[in-house]
Amino acid sequence: MEFSIYDFSSFTAWIDQSLRAAMSPGMAVAIEMLIIGVAILIFYAIVGLFLVYAERKVCALMQNRMGPNRVGPGGIFQTIADLVKLLFVELVPIKNADKILFSLAPYIVIIASFMAMGALPFAKGLHAIDLNIGVFYLMAVSSMGVVGVLLAGWASNNKYSLIGAMRIGAQIVSYEISVGMSLVTIVVLAGTMQLSEIVQAQQYGWFIFRGHIPALIAFVIFIVASTAETNRGPFDLAEAESELTAGFHTEYSGIRFAFFFLAEYINMFIVAAIATTVFFGGWMPFNVYGWEGFNKVMNFIPPFIWFLGKTGALIFLIMWFKWTFPRLRIDQLLTLEWKYFLPINIINVLIMALIVLLGWHW
């Protein structure tokens, strides 16, 4: 049995085989699901904690500050300390709040982000499930979180929360279209919705290079629209701390607040991961056709490093947006979607279809 950090398919196959050899097939699937669940949960927590720390450091450096630097070397344990604090914070009961929905909302938000994680290809052969409609699944799941946010805003019995929730409702409904359309552009180019095949198709040239200008436009729109969809600045209207104090999670405290907080960062990771997979070749190293020596060096770097590196770069871009721009107003947000993104996107898909039909892409 040979394991390699460049190809996990044999590793996963080995696990599958040994489980199936030891027990009944139903049991084996159950155990596999458990392993995957635990693995993703651990990964989820690590990514969440790291991203919170990364954001604080990034924004601090952009603002001429140092950021957290007291807990641990360079402050890397700051988020863990914060998490421990949040765990001990009292869950303040809200008068006249809808108790069931109020406590349900954070879980819906966090489950939605959890589900998307399962379909992401982290490296060759390293994904929980390779759906043949992977892109479609990711889109469907990543927009589920809004239900939780709406519930949170509604159940809080707070006008600020309600305004925030209604804003995010309008926001997600609008921007889901843009996200979908820009992904469709690439699906047209790739000819498949299966994420593993999309990645495989980018071995010699990522789609952002292969798709000419339409892919570039699709990428810009995707990254902006998904920033809006994950409810981050400059589109953080649902929180809008200068207008709505804290928006939909004004009344949340303790671990429930932590769930919202964590989900926001995980959503950011997910959209960056989708963008990586679809536009930047996922875990594929940067290869140029013909340059054998260069490709060899690039291939030496393990795929999941590629994946995380690309994702990290995109996350940095999203953070950069947040810490530079002022916030949009709700009507401008909708104007941006319906008057700019949607028409551009539709034309973009048509052009892409034309390119694919005429075979102009490499």
Partner: protein, 159 residues
Amino acid sequence: MKSVIEYFRGIFNGIKSLLVGMTVTGGYFFRPGTTLTQQYPDNRDTLVMFERFKGEVVMPHNEKNEHKCTGCGICEINCPNGSIEVIPATEVTEEGKKKRIIDKHIYHLGMCTFCGLCVKTCPSQALAFSQEFEHAVFDRTKLTKVLNQPGSKLMKGVE
């Protein structure tokens, strides 16, 4: 057609302005030497306040434990908030004259607004500002201070 050109010009100008903004923040991100944060409790040894900084009112004593306060009470009159109380005493001098001296010069730091009138108006320059700025205490009564040290005397030659 013109409106179409306007539409795209608007988009490009908008994107350009956004990129200009991003160069500013990005510029600072990639030049971490510009960090301004002062590591306050760590840099206490090197932290120097400006000499005129109005930290709190003190009464300088010389090495013989003498101060310049004659107990005239001008600072008390001039203080807008009543943060100074001068409790006078009388002392019989060698010539047998009665002389007004201070028993206690009480200073309520918690009421002081650092206007500087007491220091400015003192006829014998008995008061001064120190550069001490760490005033936090756990008990409010500790903010009431007696400025003249115990056993201190009036400096010779100060009337």
